[in-house]
């Protein structure tokens, strides 16, 4: 764990481990409590495998009542709890704590209700994202947010992270597609927020819970809205001599009033890596490749695909291909979807970053990343959700070379700070977790963070849910109450930044 500091494990909890495990077994009988090293090993990390930690114990409840009792027990005994879905987090959001219960929600894997007339699905949190779409596909419906891990990631994890995907400019993130949740508070109390109806009057607790990274409660049921799958989808592949030209094309498409279902950009390194891997016929003589997908009624898609082609041609695109069949459309995407494993073939290890920038800053960000790449001596490729400005630089390194992971992490942090500098943010869809926790002060000052923590304090005043995540310093709620800014000056203007 390169330089990552987690909250110090409490010796008294570690000392009581046997008793705690016995108590947990009384709540979740049988195989629901795991305490051997071999069986806990699969839970020691999530998608960020550079960070590992064995938990105090793994608990796998199967009913809301058990979740409630486990949390009430943890609350009464001051034991931290780390919730976990499928463990696909790319920010270390489900990294265990040595003195904490890892609460795995995998057994909550049933779909409880499908209502086509009202266009809603009620699912338990352990149902996979794709599982929801699969359950409604026979009627031509689907669940819109589609993070790239959708085959494995769970809807509960999506709620925790406010997951996005390639289609979110048009169809929104998780928060725009969730209608209700049942959630257990750290006290064991169970609340229901929202339901089958759209939001109406009242505070939007649901909007605060979505994206709260497991720090506010444990979701035990989720109601989502489903949409009719678009009648047609077609994609255009356009190659440009520079990323500036490709960026100008993206801006021109949006300025023309067109919101594509997906709009992805890849840089030269990624084009070559992907083409070598999946061989789908990407042009290799271009600096930037744009995939623009239009979806909707057939007449509309055919009309817009022509307009997008005209815009691209007018801006100097070197290659232009519009898909004429579903197979061809899928092939256009195959390279993009294989981008990460393709990098895995050319580099032993890589870090995937996740900043968002105002789109117009792309040329500046790309050229400064090139300078950083030279400075750190590490290669870096870029895939970019061009429509919404979400950038995924992939930093190549070799973990077996001493110091290279640390170098890659420093490079990654520099990229994220650059995103903030140009008016963007630290994370577009992967979450803060532990990975970007210590960078939060680059975006938010002490007062900003204090207001976020006040929300945390309303839900979990003892900071037992997922401590060590999101906030660089988790103040005790009582201290937070006393904090005051005088004369417009922050109390701690010089908090560490890196």
């Amino acid at each position: 764990m390169a330089g990552l500091v987690m909250p110090e494990p409490k010796a008294d909890i570690l000392a009581r481990r046997a008793q705690i495990i016995a108590d947990l077994r009384a709540i979740v009988p049988g195989e629901g409590v795991i305490d051997t090293e071999a069986e806990m090993r699969p839970f020691e990390s999530d998608g960020v495998t550079a960070y590992r930690q064995m938990p105090l114990a793994v608990v796998l409840p199967s009913t809301t009542e058990q979740v409630s009792k486990v949390l009430a027990y943890a609350h009464a005994n001051g034991i931290p709890v780390v919730p976990r879905g499928a463990g696909t987090s790319l920010s270390g959001g489900a990294l265990p704590l040595a003195d904490g219960i890892l609460l795995g929600m995998g057994k909550f894997n049933r779909i409880l209700d499908i209502d086509f007339a009202n266009r809603t699905v009620v699912a338990q949190p352990g149902v996979t994202n794709l599982g929801i779409t699969t359950a409604v596909a026979h009627e031509g419906f689907y669940y819109a947010p589609d993070p790239s891990s959708q085959i494995a990631c769970t809807i509960g994890g999506n709620v925790g992270e406010n997951s996005g995907g390639v289609h979110c400019l048009k169809y929104g993130l998780t928060t725009n597609n969730v209608l209700g949740v049942e959630m257990v508070l750290i006290t064991g109390e169970i609340i229901r927020i929202g339901g089958q109806h759209l939001d109406s009057g009242g505070l939007d607790l649901l909007g605060l819970i979505v994206g709260s990274e497991g720090l506010l409660g444990v979701v035990t049921e989720v109601t989502v809205r489903i949409l009719k799958k678009p009648e047609t989808a077609r994609a255009v592949l356009m190659g440009f001599p520079s990323s500036e030209a490709a960026g100008a094309c993206v801006a021109a498409i949006i300025a023309a009033g067109i919101i594509p279902g997906g709009m992805e950009m890849m840089d030269r390194m990624m084009i070559h890596a992907s083409e070598a891997f999946v061989n789908v016929g990407y042009p290799l003589d271009v600096e930037a490749l744009l995939i623009v997908e239009l979806d909707g009624p057939e007449a509309e898609v055919n009309h817009l695909i022509e307009r997008v082609g005209e815009i691209g041609s007018g801006l100097g695109c070197m290659t232009l291909r519009a898909s004429t069949s579903e197979e061809e459309r899928v092939a256009f995407w195959a390279g993009r979807k294989a981008a990460f494993p393709a990098v895995g073939r050319i580099s032993p290890d890589y870090l995937c970053m996740d900043g968002t920038i105002p789109r117009k800053a792309l040329p500046e960000v790309l050229s400064r990343m090139e300078q950083m790449s030279e400075k750190y001596g590490l290669r870096c490729g870029n895939v970019f959700h061009a429509g919404d400005g979400n950038l995924h630089p992939l930093i190549c390194y070799d973990a077996n070379k001493p110091g290279e992971l640390e170098k890659a992490e420093a490079f990654g942090a520099d990229i994220l700070l650059l995103c903030v500098e140009v008016g963007g943010v630290l994370t577009g869809e992967h979450g803060v977790g532990v990975e970007k926790r210590d960078l939060m002060p680059s975006m938010f000052d002490e007062t900003d963070l204090a207001h976020q923590q006040r929300l945390k304090c309303a839900f979990d005043p003892d900071a037992l849910l997922n401590p060590g995540k999101v906030f660089p310093v988790l103040h005790r709620c009582a201290e937070l109450g006393r904090m005051h800014v005088s004369g417009g000056k922050l109390p701690f203007p010089d908090i560490p930044r890196f």
Partner: protein, 415 residues
């Protein structure tokens, strides 16, 4: 500033003056009603505060980049100004914010951006495009602790920290006073048409709207206007009965294709008619602002017919309508049937009846929109919270506004 007196309006001109005003109130033990232009002062629970914190002098669009789909403006900027600005670039606030002016006996076009977000406004495009909170990207605000803070950002994809911009949307000024907001702006559709299905009862209308919204044909508005309300809307009054309206927006060739497909799909359900672009715009604006239930400008809210806004699952709306019709109420359905606007026969809200009807269909939100000050002071205006959620909301208030300086009680008694 000790000359401030109870009943006065404080009109800060920038964020620093908002901070000063809230700190003054904290120091003096005064309460403040957070307001923009005051156009929605009659919305929410009726409260009496010592002074009014009026943010309408904080004006001006500070950032508008059409190609980036983003706009920032000071909280007191008039909504009408923003609508006109983005329309000039063929863009819009896609959530189609309703204007409460007509319902509350005020002139149309009076609201501010801060008020729009504080009340989380939405319109007929809500089911497909979301509400104001779905378009809130970033916020600057002053909490009841007298501290200025920011949250969110200016990009559409952002999960850095809690989604406070969304959480503060719809908080009616009870947690913080907005000073500046950043919102998502989207392209305006090139054109619009509306397909009308005539003569349906409420239940058939619900299933017709469900079929249309659940089709491939991108229906961006689905409303049902029963016969007794249709006569009050000029562009459909001639239909001579109930109209079920399905809006199609986008590029011309697409609309023609979709209209043809929908006509094939729905022709067996009732006689069909349609509204061209001009009449469509007029119809959906009338519906958005619930003009059939409007109170004439300057009308007395205390004696006006009570109005409710009920949000339930779309197929459950008709049951709400049936329950309130029994006492002589009039209804209007939007959001494919899930949003029920109810006008009571007189000024009595009949709260128990409405709440029971919502509970009977499995839950939802009922908000008392227009009622006498006395009724809005004594009854829950928003959907009542259960004990655990109520305690949670109180703790949130405690976190953001521990001295209960900002619009105390506007949403819930004691909060």
């Amino acid at each position: 500033m000790s000359e401030r007196e109870v009943g006065q309006r404080i009109g800060p001109r920038d964020e620093a003056e908002v901070v000063e005003a809230v700190r003054w109130a904290l120091a003096e033990g005064r309460t403040l009603d957070v307001a923009g232009s005051g156009s929605k002062a009659a919305l929410g629970r009726h409260i009496q505060t010592d002074l009014t914190l009026e943010l309408k002098a904080l004006t001006g669009v500070t950032l508008y980049e059409p190609e980036e789909l983003v706009l920032s403006a000071k909280a007191g900027t008039p909504v009408a100004e923003i609508e006109a600005l983005v329309a000039a670039s063929s863009q819009m606030m896609a959530f189609e914010p309703m204007d409460f002016g007509p319902l509350l006996g005020r002139p149309a076009g009076g609201g501010t951006l801060g008020g729009l977000m504080a009340c989380n406004l939405a319109g007929p495009r809500r089911p497909s495009a979301g509400a104001a909170r779905d378009h809130a990207l970033g916020v600057r605000a002053v909490s009841g602790r007298g501290e200025a803070f920011k949250a969110g950002g200016r990009v559409v994809k952002n999960v850095t920290g809690y989604d406070l911009p969304r959480g503060l949307a719809g908080s009616y000024g009870t947690l913080a006073a907005f000073t500046e907001l950043t919102i998502k702006i989207l392209p305006r559709p090139e054109t619009v048409e509306t397909l009308l299905v005539l003569g349906l009862d409420d239940a058939s209308a619900a299933s017709t709207m469900s079929a249309a919204v659940g089709s491939y044909y991108d229906v961006s508005g689905a409303a049902h206007v029963p016969a007794d309300v249709a006569v009050r809307i000029p562009v459909v009054a001639g239909a001579g009965g109930a109209v079920t309206a399905l809006r199609l927006e986008g590029v011309g060739p697409s609309i023609q294709h979709r209209r043809r497909k929908l006509e094939e799909m729905l022709s067996a359900r009732g006689a069909l008619s349609f509204l061209d672009a001009e009449n469509s715009i007029a119809f959906w604006r009338t519906l958005r602002d619930v003009e059939p239930f409007a109170l004439p400008e300057g009308g007395d809210i205390d004696t006006a017919k009570a109005v409710w806004r009920v949000s339930v699952a779309p197929m459950k709306g008709a049951a709400i309508g049936a329950a309130v019709r029994a006492v002589g109420a009039t209804c209007l359905y939007d959001w494919a049937g899930g949003l029920v606007w109810i006008e009571m026969p007189d000024a009595t809200p009949r709260t128990a009846l409405v709440r029971e009807a919502v509970a009977a269909v499995g839950g939802g939100h009922a908000t008392l929109i227009r009622a006498s000050a006395a009724a809005r002071a004594s009854e829950e205006v928003f959907q009542p919270l259960d004990a655990v959620t109520g305690a949670l909301v109180k703790r949130m208030k405690q976190g953001f506004d521990p001295s209960r300086v900002l619009s105390p009680g506007r949403m819930y008694a004691g909060v």
